[in-house]
């Protein structure tokens, strides 16, 4: 019996050790539960660019400006009014009066200044540092006025101030980064309660929030990595919001009785880049145009996506504030495609391409790539679909090791510069295309602060891009959220889950 008792003793010991740290939740009123695939990578603001991380942080910190409405337009939140630009190098942010952090400290211009200086400090390794590299100085002019001076005209700053979260400078100086990450203090609608690693982030309504108090008093972000398990938690009534329901599961959710799918055309676009960095047929504009004529995008949207994707005619979607609304999508015309390829001096049946695609990163990405390959196959072009693990896919794009084409999604894309300047200049990391003329035109607009002039220039460039056909232009993806019927919450095109907007359904 000694063996058995030894085994039992060991097992019991391990069990006691483990259970001692288990927390038992009280069965009070159920909190509002958002099921996400992962925990935040940090709760320090302006450190990490990552949807999952940022969507949780904004509920704790609020933002200076945010994208509001549909189509989304910039509105002030912690700021009191739109940012002012008295000259090309100066930016003035007026802060809302009376904003308090959850510990009672007032939010002042010092906190904004300190946040910018913190992210610029290389020791903090903020991923936002490259974006703010043009900042010359930040001054707290008075407690509610921040002045940013830039080294060069940088109109893009207007967009970088959107979703800008502000830390409590006094607190972070006092406790340091590590402690502030473990117990963050922000000026958002919710204050931090608890973060059980890989398990849940618990928040409760902040009594000091500047806006009207949130209706939902207690919020939990639960981290459920497996999608089927996330869906199960929604179907079992344990979760209230689950993002990215696959189109095949939509009926299952809607039939469940307790939950439904709420979809919205997202500001994230999907496209197939036609890489012109290497020699080959894709150097010729006519071949690139032909590929656009050869793929029946509407049919893919209707059959594969069951209508849950919205076609884009050019590089920007209809909800982008800089979109050129005059562009019409390339029609499906395989004969025209063959003719163009022949005009360019190639025989379609001799063309062979590889398309690199991720799998599961965007809705039905691999399946879409396969559908595109099969349309190109119909006019004789042989296309091999190369499916990559996500990290490898990014590596291949950055190191220019993809095939002649690659599939990618981009967003949230709500203004032109973040898309066009990043994806159509050869020196940018995720670009697959560039011409000297295009680079010249893009570089000319970047310092222009006047918004009317900018808009006109972006319109012109979108026409250039349409003709150059650097992509097979595809669609805006639709974000499909599974939502518990007991909650009133509408999805937003910019993929935000700001729970100040959520309420319970009255029964």
């Amino acid at each position: 019996m000694r063996t058995i008792s030894a085994v039992l003793a060991l097992a019991l010991l391990l069990g006691v050790l483990g259970m001692a740290s288990t927390t038992v939740t009280n069965a009070q009123e159920r909190p509002f539960v958002v099921a996400l695939g992962a925990e935040p990578r940090s709760l320090l603001p302006m450190l990490i660019v990552d949807w999952t991380t940022n969507v949780q942080q904004m509920n704790i910190y609020d933002r200076l400006y945010y994208w509001d409405g549909d189509p989304p337009r910039i509105k002030p939140s912690l700021a009191a009014e739109p940012v002012q630009t008295p000259d090309e190098l100066t930016w003035i942010i007026k802060l809302r009066a009376g904003v308090k952090f959850s510990n009672g400290d007032s939010l002042t211009s010092d906190d904004v200044k300190s946040t910018i200086e913190w992210l610029l400090d290389p020791r903090n390794q903020s991923a936002y540092r490259p974006r703010f590299a043009f900042v010359e100085s930040v001054d707290a002019v008075d407690p509610l006025t921040v002045r940013i001076r830039t080294k060069e005209p940088a109109p893009v700053l207007r967009y970088y101030l959107v979703d800008f979260t502000v830390h409590n400078s006094k607190y972070i100086r006092q406790v340091g980064n590590e402690a502030a990450n473990r117990a963050p203090i922000g000026a958002g609608p919710y204050k931090f309660v608890r973060w059980d690693r890989d398990e849940r982030l618990v928040l409760e309504a902040s009594p000091t929030y500047w806006n009207k108090p949130p209706v939902v008093k207690r919020v939990e972000f639960r981290f459920i990595p497996d999608f089927s398990a996330r869906l199960a938690s929604l179907l079992a009534g344990e979760s209230d919001i689950v993002k990215d329901v696959p189109p095949v599961s939509v009926d299952q959710v809607n039939r469940s009785g307790g939950a439904e799918v709420r979809g919205i055309p997202s500001s994230r676009i999907n496209y197939v880049a036609l890489v012109n960095f290497k020699s080959g047929p894709l150097q010729d504009r006519r071949v690139r145009q032909a590929l656009n004529y050869a793929v029946n995008v509407d049919e893919i949207v209707a059959n594969l996506y069951k209508g849950r994707a919205t076609r884009i005619p050019g590089a920007l979607s209809a909800i982008n504030e800089d979109v050129n609304a005059n562009l019409k999508p390339y029609p499906y015309n395989p004969d025209r495609a063959v003719q163009l390829i022949k005009e360019a001096g190639f025989d379609p049946s001799k063309l062979e391409f590889t398309i690199d695609s991720p799998s599961g990163r965007y809705p039905l990405d691999k399946e879409a790539a396969e559908a595109i390959a099969s349309y190109l196959g119909r006019i004789g072009i042989k296309v091999r679909v190369q499916v990559n693990e996500w990290g490898t896919h990014l590596d291949k794009i950055i190191n220019r090791r993809t095939g002649e084409m690659f599939y990618l999604g981009w967003g949230p894309a709500l203004e032109a510069q973040g898309t066009i300047a990043e994806l159509f200049r050869p020196d940018r990391a995720y670009s697959g295309f560039g011409t000297s003329n295009l680079t010249l035109e893009i570089n000319k607009i970047l310092p222009v602060v006047d918004r009317t002039k900018r808009k006109a220039a972006w319109n012109r460039i979108q026409v250039m891009l349409y003709t150059e056909a650097p992509w097979i232009f595809l669609w805006q993806q639709h974000d499909l959220y599974g939502v518990n019927k007991r909650v009133d919450w509408k999805p937003h095109p910019a993929e935000k889950i700001f729970l100040h907007d959520a309420t319970w359904v009255k029964r």
Binding site: I4, L14, D226, A229, Y430
Partner: protein, 306 residues
Amino acid sequence: MAQFVARRLLEAVVVVFLALTAVFCLQFLAGDPVKLFLPTDTTPKQIEEYRTRLGFNDPLVVQYVRFMRGALRGDFGNSLRQQQEPALRLVLDRFPATLSLSAVAMLLALGTAIPIGVISAARRNSWFDHLGIGTTVLGQAIPGFWLGLMLIYVFAVWLRWLPTSGRGTWLHYIMPAVTLAAFVSARFARFTRSMMLDVLGQDYIRTARAKGLAPPRVLYKHALKNASLPIVTLLALQLGQLLGGAVITETIFAWPGVGRFLVQALLNRDFPVVLVGVFLTAVMYSGLNLAADLAYAWLNPRIRYA
């Protein structure tokens, strides 16, 4: 005995060192972590700056020496993905969850597998034997992710008796522990059965029976005690495996344990975290093996180590 322990400890140190060195070298095959952490609008030049600052541009030898020096002091550096946080603490934070789930699963597995093994051996080729061993083999043959999802759909979504996933109350333990135990128990049941069959054929069992001892007493007091020694070895190995993290079970049930965390770290190329995981797993395996050897000496006074 002291000499034996000292030698085994030294061996353990060598094992840990070799494991760390191997993984350190292998991680460079996984590709560059830096790009995964920077926003998409970062230029190649800025990416290079980050690589330099994080030390990824130094020669491999320099990186290796720096890593080993830190590791000796217990400093494995900060996580790349969860910046500003020490990798060691991130992994240690997740140990209690894995520990408690492993213990519950192991108790469940032993509690079912050993009786099944014993009775199957005692009633060899009976219906119980076929049913018992058949069921446990089925448990092992069913993939964990499938069993897990089926349990969730039946007991959480459909019947709503249990929570779908997560941790918090004892109810949360049931499904993940059953999923893990289903896999582990087949091995224990079959192992117990064959050890018992072996022992039951021995002369001293016949003697015990001839003396007129009650059959249960023969079975449990005389046979099982002697058959159980090899089970300790198996237990140490299985426990090592469970403590290393049951990746699939932890993922499906959103159990905040080590296995799920380390696999995520691997996919995200969070090298410091991966190295901590390898280090702790190597330490644990060595420790459990040592514990099993020592338990042998205690359980069977005839075994002594020179």
